[in-house]
């Protein structure tokens, strides 16, 4: 898939942008309902119900919710630990909501970090994520290899004093490609992942393997290639002792020669971006 311009008129992009907004609206609505005592499973179900009511039938992956030190993936060894548990939310606890709905054939994959109550530490983590959003866009526009960008993100995290927690994701990915998904009447999911989306990812991996690229943006050799045009769901994830924070949103990469057009964030009107803008105004 290639995209001509950032103007947003392209119907393809509009569809993706709509579902990404829908997902962030869901995250904000659910976050507003979180109270002490709510469990991760309940929070995940709230996201699922909210999106189902608005027409979502398929998923790239089912909604996740992580509370407390699970936001920093403390002690995560096996992938099953990513699934929501009966951990209860307490005052002052950070949380992350992560969901990837498919709507009208378009996919989004978002991450929303919040905290129940005030936490200067969590605020700091969120504020420090801004530098990563800028760095990733800049270096993708400079057409650096994905593996190099990955290493630069990690270096920045270490300089900031954090641990890179997206290392804990499967294959240590910071991002993966997303694409259109054909809507079927029956769309089962295995281990929380929609089979249709997995099919797309698998076929990308197969084709990419032949052409020397990968739909997974990882620290490994298979990501040692130029940014591949398409839509990438990027999720830098900071961890600091028992606290974690991330955002996840779609980065559009095109084959345009114009650097501005060669890569851009699908949408600049998202909760975390608005938050940074507000902080700048108050400062």
């Amino acid at each position: 898939m290639t995209f001509a311009a950032k103007d947003g008129k392209a119907p393809e992009l509009r569809g993706f942008r709509e579902v990404q907004r829908l997902a962030y609206d869901c995250a904000e609505a659910v976050a507003a309902q979180l109270r002490p005592g709510v469990t991760e499973r309940e929070a995940a179900r709230m996201q699922r119900d909210w999106l189902r009511e608005r027409g979502v039938r398929d998923w790239f992956h089912l909604p996740f919710a992580w509370f407390g030190d699970r936001t920093a993936f403390a002690g995560f060894k096996v992938p099953l630990q990513f699934f929501p548990t009966s951990r209860k939310l307490e005052p002052g606890m950070p949380f992350i909501l992560d969901m990837a709905p498919v709507h009208k054939g378009f996919t989004a994959d978002i991450g929303y970090s919040g905290c129940l109550g005030l936490s200067p530490l969590h605020d700091r983590l969120l504020a420090d994520l801004e530098a990563h959003r800028e760095l990733i866009l800049r270096e993708v526009r400079e057409r650096r290899s994905l593996r190099e960008i990955y290493e630069d993100v990690e270096r920045l995290m270490i300089r900031q004093g954090y641990a890179n927690r997206h290392r804990a994701y499967p294959f240590g990915v910071i991002a993966h490609k997303v694409d259109r998904v054909t809507e079927r009447r029956w769309s089962p999911h295995v281990f929380g992942f929609g089979t249709q989306s997995l099919k797309g990812l698998a076929s990308d991996a197969l084709h990419g393997h032949r052409d020397g690229w990968s739909p997974l943006w990882s620290p490994y050799r298979f990501s040692d290639h130029l940014p591949r045009p398409g839509l990438w769901a990027v999720e830098p994830h900071l961890g600091f002792r028992g606290t974690g924070a991330k955002f996840e949103e779609i980065l559009v990469v095109t084959d345009s020669k114009d650097p501005e057009q060669s890569a851009f964030w699908l949408d600049d009107d998202l909760p975390h971006v608005r938050r940074w803008a507000e902080e700048k105004v108050t400062a």
């Binding site: 200067p120 530490l121 700091r124 270490i158 300089r159 004093g161 641990a163 600091f240 002792r241």
Partner: protein
């Protein structure tokens, strides 16, 4: 002694004249210091003068001690009920309108537990800081519990405390203790104190000691047996309590306070690596903790809030809360993780690095996770004058360092014949001289203060694992290890512990700056990337080393290998050094 500057007055109660001394501004909240056995109020002189800047400090000689008069007859004149009368009389005289903060040491603390748990003092006490003196009622229950449900551990605790309490039985014999105190023991006591406790000899104990000790024997005889036999069941503290436990106390074991939370719902625990007479040997730490606790309670009283424990929740918060910790090389890796671990334990942190921005960042983050104050300093540890200047500044602005972590270090790889003398100099300047400067300058400050402390030096598993790839680095680290061991021997008499930490392969940034001798820029970059990747694959987190460092300080361990490979190498170096020599010949697969 500074107490001479105090304002003195007499308070009469039940036919006794109590000698009361006051320091500081009377309009400030009052802190009453109660002394133990065989002491007089002068035992508090150092603590009182430090507290007087901020609080209205009141000390009094317990009846029969110092310049207060003794009851007649002595038998039955020292019951806790009568001592409570005395305390209330003093409190009413010095602070009639608002409750006082009580601090008790030894028998002063035993008394103050009574004050803090009986009904009639309610509203007269705002907080209680206890050291080295349990409530006799709690102690009675403690013994009963262990007698009625003995497990091997509980029996051990019972026997241990039983042995530590030998002097209590002695004091129950008639006449003999008095004769001993008025005779040879009284004469020898100051010397015994100096030898056993390293109490500074500056006019303490006072000349009234033989008399005080003889009278004070009745504290035991009037109270211990009846209370231990029939402890009160309602001895719940009605005020917030701060418990300071000296961990090397000859007379009281730490397990005495195992379930104290049941009796004192608002409890803050502190641990101090010191012997029994902490008011004499650790006045800085005590006055800091007392001040902090009094201030927190005053704020809570005014705001109508319950007193929370310290905000720090990390491991060993009881031990490091409020202490000053200096970490070099704190802009990343083990140094940064260590600074954070201390911050989580509530310590104040000075983060030192030649990368000033990184050090400042460490300090900033430290404050977000529990450090009450943290500072970043830009200093190259190999520069002696810079370290000296830093030490002056730290002492002047933040105080004397309680824990020093010499962590800064650089890597150098390559064969001996490829290593230039310039490279040798560089690595020794930072890795060895940096540690020497730190130990010499900050260690001297610690020793001069005479209130203990701890020095941690980061050596490496390379200190006992020879290798053809790291001759200069290993040499520098072996020197650090030996330096630490020598220093440990020397500073033991000053109660300053020294630990050498040998981490092994830890996933830090050290490989990114390691110099590879005898290589050009591209080859060096390749080697850096390669070793960096190998370290990443090993993936041993610096946080675990930081935990080992805190534990080493708490336990005063001499040499601590951290990773399994470091522990293995350490073991081999002792049982079969030949194997290590064989390994040393292998070329690293780079």
């Amino acid at each position: 002694m500074k107490l001479r500057e105090a304002r003195e007055r007499w308070v009469s109660t039940g036919g006794i004249e109590l000698c009361v001394a006051e320091l500081g501004d009377v309009s400030r909240p009052t802190v009453v210091l109660v002394h133990g056995y065989p002491d007089s109020k002068e035992v508090w002189s150092e603590v009182a003068s430090r507290l007087a800047d901020e609080w209205h400090v009141v000390l009094y000689d317990v009846r029969g001690h110092g310049r207060s008069t003794a009851p007649s007859p002595l038998r039955g004149g020292f019951t806790l009920e009568k001592l409570t009368d005395d305390f209330l009389a003093v409190a009413d005289a010095v602070s009639p309108d608002r409750p006082v903060h009580v601090v008790g040491h030894d028998w002063g603390s035993v008394q103050a537990w009574e004050f803090a748990t009986v009904k009639r003092t309610e509203g007269r006490i705002a907080s209680f800081t206890s050291m080295s003196g349990p409530s006799l009622d709690h102690f009675g229950h403690w013994i009963k519990q262990r007698m009625s449900r003995p497990t091997p551990r509980r029996v051990g605790q019972l026997l241990g405390q039983g042995a530590k309490s030998w002097y209590v039985y002695m004091l129950h014999t008639p006449v003999l203790p008095e004769l001993a105190w008025r005779g040879p023991l009284g004469k020898q006591w100051p010397r015994i104190l100096q030898r056993m406790e390293k109490v500074p000899a500056d006019g303490y104990p006072t000349p009234s000691l033989p008399q005080d000790a003889a009278h004070g024997a009745w504290l035991y005889r009037d109270n211990v047996r009846p209370r231990l036999r029939r402890p009160r069941t309602d001895a719940y503290a009605h005020v917030p309590v701060q418990l300071i436990t000296p961990t090397e106390d000859f007379f009281l074991s730490e397990s005495l306070y195992d379930q104290l939370e049941l009796w004192a719902p608002q409890l803050v625990r502190r641990a101090l690596p010191a012997k029994h007479w902490v008011p004499r040997t650790r006045p800085d730490q005590l006055s800091a903790w007392i001040s902090e606790f009094v201030a927190a309670n005053e704020a809570a009283r005014q705001g109508g809030l319950p007193v929370q424990g310290t905000s720090a929740t990390g491991a060993y918060a009881d031990r490091f809360g409020g202490q000053l910790v200096l970490v070099t090389g704190a802009a990343g890796g083990i140094g940064r993780a260590t600074a954070f671990a201390f911050a989580e334990a509530g310590a104040r942190v000075v983060a030192v690095d030649r990368d000033g921005e990184g050090a400042a960042r460490t300090a900033e983050m430290a404050q977000l996770i529990g450090s009450p104050a943290a500072w970043g300093e830009t200093v190259d540890v190999s520069d002696e004058q810079a370290v000296e200047k830093l030490a002056e500044k730290v002492a002047r602005e933040y105080g004397i360092v309680d824990v020093l972590v010499n962590n800064a270090g650089i890597g150098l790889s390559g064969s001996f014949l490829d290593t230039t003398s310039e490279e040798w100099k560089n690595v020794l300047d930072v890795n060895l001289w940096g540690v020497i400067h730190g130990c010499r300058i900050f260690g001297k400050q610690m020793a001069d203060r005479g209130q203990g402390g701890h020095i941690v030096n980061l050596a490496s598993a390379a200190a006992f694992q020879p290798s053809r790839a790291l001759p200069a680095y290993s040499t520098s680290k072996a020197a650090v290890l030996m330096l630490s061991e020598c220093l440990r021997a020397e500073l033991a008499e000053k109660s300053i512990g020294v630990s050498a930490i040998c981490p092994g392969i830890v996933n830090t940034n050290i490989t990114a700056t390691t110099r590879f001798a005898g290589t050009d820029a591209t080859e060096e970059k390749r080697l850096r990337n390669r070793t960096g990747r190998l370290y990443g694959l090993r993936n041993y987190p610096p946080e675990k080393v930081a935990d080992a460092i805190l534990k080493a300080v708490v336990r005063n361990q001499a040499v601590v290998p951290v990773t399994p490979e470091a522990r293995g190498a350490r073991l081999l170096s002792r049982v079969s050094p030949g194997v290590l020599r064989g390994i040393a010949r292998l070329k690293p697969p780079l």
